[in-house]
Amino acid sequence: MNWTSEQILALAPDAASAKNGQGLAIGRKWQNCGRSQSVVWGECQGSGSKPYRTQIDLTEPAFRCSCPSRKFPCKHGLGLFLLLAQSDALFTDTSPPDWVSEWLDSRQQRQVKQQEKAAEKAAAIADPQAQAKRQEKRAKKVDAGVAELQQWLTDFLRRGLATAPELSYQQWDQVAARMVDAQAPGLARRLQAMAGTAHSGSGWPERLLSQLGELHLLLESYQRLESLPPALQADVRSQMGWTMSQEEVLAKPGQVVTDRWAVLGQRDEVEDPLRIRRIWLQGVSSHTLALILLFAHGKQSFEVSFLPGTVVAAELAFFPSAYPQRAIVQSRSDHAEAITPTIVPGIPQIADLFTQYSHALSHQPWLERLVVSLQGVTVGQESAQGYLRDRNNAVLPLVANYPALWELIALGGGHAIDLTGEWNGREFYPLSAWVQGEFVVL
């Protein structure tokens, strides 16, 4: 399949690596470039006496390089991949040298080991007695935290929201810290998010009241947890910050969907010291949407990679939810193909996005975001604030200061394009587009 530079650069761990990788995407820098089925390799002369040996398993893709860099993938990996995308004639089809095949073998062995390990862990978790004990202990702490927070909310409303601007960030943080102690980090996150609302400009009382309303709904739901359907119970727990481990999900998934998954796009965010990556997939036959959520510390690499614009057969285990989105990869194929324009359905009008969103909220009222593919929208801007417009002249605001706004406008040229992005109820964040039959990573 053909890769685009943007697809590959999406794998870069940071901007510097992306830049340096592009500097290495030059044929002269490489020797003995070769490829065999789904693996490519090459040797790059660096500052050392021996050239660095760089190899890429294109299936995932996975990288390996003999350079000492701790970044992953390193600039050589990105450079070699970009070179393949831009000038694949430089790669001769041949059987891999020993250093490449050794790596491939070790990868396969490791995968088998990992699967065994996961199975062991899952078995350990399956011990129902131990689990029940753990949960009971935690529930007690959370109950106390919930009661405390409800009292705090009552006091707050008695004084009135007009006093909110007088609350310092520190005061909000104190309440949030109490919730962390009570093992309800989800509540802490909500409180931290509210700390800035009173200073967010006109309309803040409405925004703050909405946030308080959502928080209240969550607390009330938690107190009635047993009366809720099991899937919604899982949502409430997860909103409280009571997340399931991968092993727990694998042991007891909400559902397992086997399909060929189109990788629609990904978005990285930094919550110091964590880096968070959201990868959005959609099943080609089931049309199920899936979110692969990944975390990495500092310069660590993400454990899983899916290249936007590819289609990969995989078995996904979903976290239990009344509106299942988040999933983990149970198994995946070694083979990736290029995405094609109509492989997953989009929605033809912006009004449908709102219908979908309201449908989703009716299942899971705390849903943070939805990924949506819009068909035939034009991108416009007014004083550098971007918006999308459909054929009925309905508009959708883009996120303020969307970094690729002008690139997107340039790509669209005022013509209708298909666009996939995240909708959070207020703003749309484009992740990828179809422009004249080509998949573009934004």
């Binding site: 007009a162 909220l361 013509h415």
Partner: protein, 500 residues
């Protein structure tokens, strides 16, 4: 009550606080109103939170898109030019957005030559570069394609790329916008530009008047004569000088005609044939020159200072159209220089001719003068074409003018040919050996060699690669330079049409 009103009431209550105001009854006939009415009775604060939870979610889930009534702006027309092929992308990225900006002008020229346009994704960054660096604009325009021009319409700072004129900018824009728009108008309709300038010039500040007037250099013609001659009586000396500079390029101007007639009177017509030039300036010269009092002529060097009469003579000569020498005085410039070698007016004649070549932008005469008058280097060298400049540099070397050669190579901005590149590398090697002025070498290497050297000869690249320094830092710099040259070489190769 619509949900919007319910919500506003609720927000108002929440702001004041339940201590001072109890939450009101929320029920009404609407579905959400009925739902709110069913909520179980509880404390005032919880009632308020219950209502907020229900209404906030209801409103969030019930959003409808805004519908615009204004029609969408028009889409971009079809682009004739093909887009740069994939192997060029790394170079475009490095020169437009990366740290190889020094090669951007050459990169854009190669894209233009190949008949390509820049891929859409690069357009915003490229237009930004042109917005900040006006000198890049002429190289940027040809590679934008329809898409780039369409995009440029959407931002004021990218407006420079749009062909169509916005004449209102001339009345309302900032100084730089006005300069730009006047330049555009002048390119397309020289008469219109002059008329517009003439209409407002009296109200402009002196500095702006001079800057605007300079734009008339584009498509300068006899049609500009009356206006330029009017500008001679401007209050500002700077404006007068710009006007005079332009008038000297128009042989039909009063200024040129006056200069010719003064020269005819001043020089014995027989003087040239006898190898001696006698100069007798007219007695009433001061009065004759009065309308041009703003003009100033500076000596070429401190050794070539001129007296009062000599300054007048140099001034007059600088105004004589260069073509008049063979036509009216029947003498070529080289002959004039030859025959006045020993004249006591030598200095004045040379100074006048150098300024004439400069004002009249005559590269041929400039070359002839430079072969004999090294002091004119800084004024005239920039006028030369790449070929003329390379020839002159080789001549300097042949005549052993090493100091001048070094200086001119440093000043040059043109692409060097094989021989000049060789000379430059030799000069660098010498400096490296003598360990002198290392910073000059790095400047040379970075700013000149990598962008101007000839890449076609393998031997040159090899001799560049052979440069070595004992000093670790210097050696590192040399390796970086070599890397830059290799980048440029790769870029040139990748941007050849056949490689796409």
């Amino acid at each position: 009550m619509a949900d919007g009103n319910l919500w506003q009431t609720l927000v108002a209550t929440a702001l004041i606080g339940t201590d001072r105001q109890a939450p009101s009854e929320m029920g009404d006939a609407s579905p959400i109103g009925q739902f709110l009415a069913q909520l179980p009775p509880t404390s005032q604060e919880t009632t308020l939170l219950n209502q907020a939870a229900a209404l906030a979610l209801y409103r969030k889930a019930g959003q409808k898109p805004t519908v615009l009534t204004a029609t969408a702006s028009s889409a971009c027309a079809f682009d004739e030019l093909p887009i740069c092929p994939p192997p060029t992308l790394a170079y475009l990225h490095q020169t437009i957005q990366g740290d190889r900006a020094a090669f951007l002008p050459e990169c854009l020229a190669l894209v233009t030559q190949a008949g390509w346009r820049v891929p859409e994704r690069f357009l915003p960054a490229l237009l930004d570069r042109g917005a900040k660096q006006t000198e890049l604009r002429s190289a940027i325009l040809p590679v934008l394609g329809e898409r780039g021009r369409w995009l440029a319409q959407q931002r004021d700072d990218w407006n420079y790329a749009i062909a169509q004129l916005d004449t209102t900018v001339w009345e309302t824009g900032s100084r730089s916008q006005r300069l730009q728009v006047l330049e555009q108008i002048r390119q397309q309709d020289p008469d219109l530009a002059r008329t517009q300038l003439a209409a407002t010039i009296a109200q402009e500040a002196a500095k702006d008047r001079a800057a605007f007037l300079k734009i008339l250099q584009i498509h300068l013609s006899d049609a500009d004569l009356p206006f330029l001659e009017q500008c001679l009586s401007d209050r500002s000396q700077e404006v007068q000088q710009v006007a005079i500079g332009l008038l000297t390029q128009l042989p039909n101007s009063t200024l040129c005609q006056l200069a010719i007639s003064v020269m005819q009177e001043a020089i014995e017509p027989t003087g040239f044939t006898t190898g001696q030039v006698e100069v007798n300036l007219p007695k009433n010269l001061e009065a004759t020159l009065k309308p041009f009092k703003g003009a100033k002529i500076s000596p070429l060097s401190s050794d070539r200072k001129l007296g009062k009469t000599a300054t007048d003579l140099a001034q007059i000569i600088s105004w004589v159209p260069l073509a008049s020498w063979p036509q009216q005085f029947k003498i070529t410039i080289p002959d004039l220089l030859e025959q006045t070698t020993h004249s006591s007016w030598r200095n004045a004649i040379v100074t006048g001719l150098v300024h004439a070549a400069l004002h009249q932008r005559n590269a041929i005469v400039a070359t002839e003068l430079l072969y004999q008058i090294p002091e004119a280097d800084s004024l005239l060298f920039p006028l030369l074409s790449p070929d003329q400049a390379n020839q002159l540099l080789k001549q300097c070397n042949a005549q052993g003018e090493q100091e001048r050669l070094g200086r001119l190579i440093q000043e040059s901005t043109h692409p060097w040919d094989t021989a000049v590149t060789e000379l430059a590398i030799t000069l660098i090697a010498e400096k490296l050996r003598s360990q002198s002025q290392l910073w000059t070498i790095f400047y040379w290497l970075n700013e000149k060699l990598v962008t101007q050297m000839d890449l076609t000869q393998k031997t040159l690249i090899e001799s560049l690669q052979a440069l070595r320094s004992e000093d670790h830092y210097t050696q590192q710099q040399l390796e970086k330079i070599y890397e830059l040259v290799r980048f440029r070489q790769d870029m040139v190769q990748a941007l050849q049409p056949e490689s796409g």
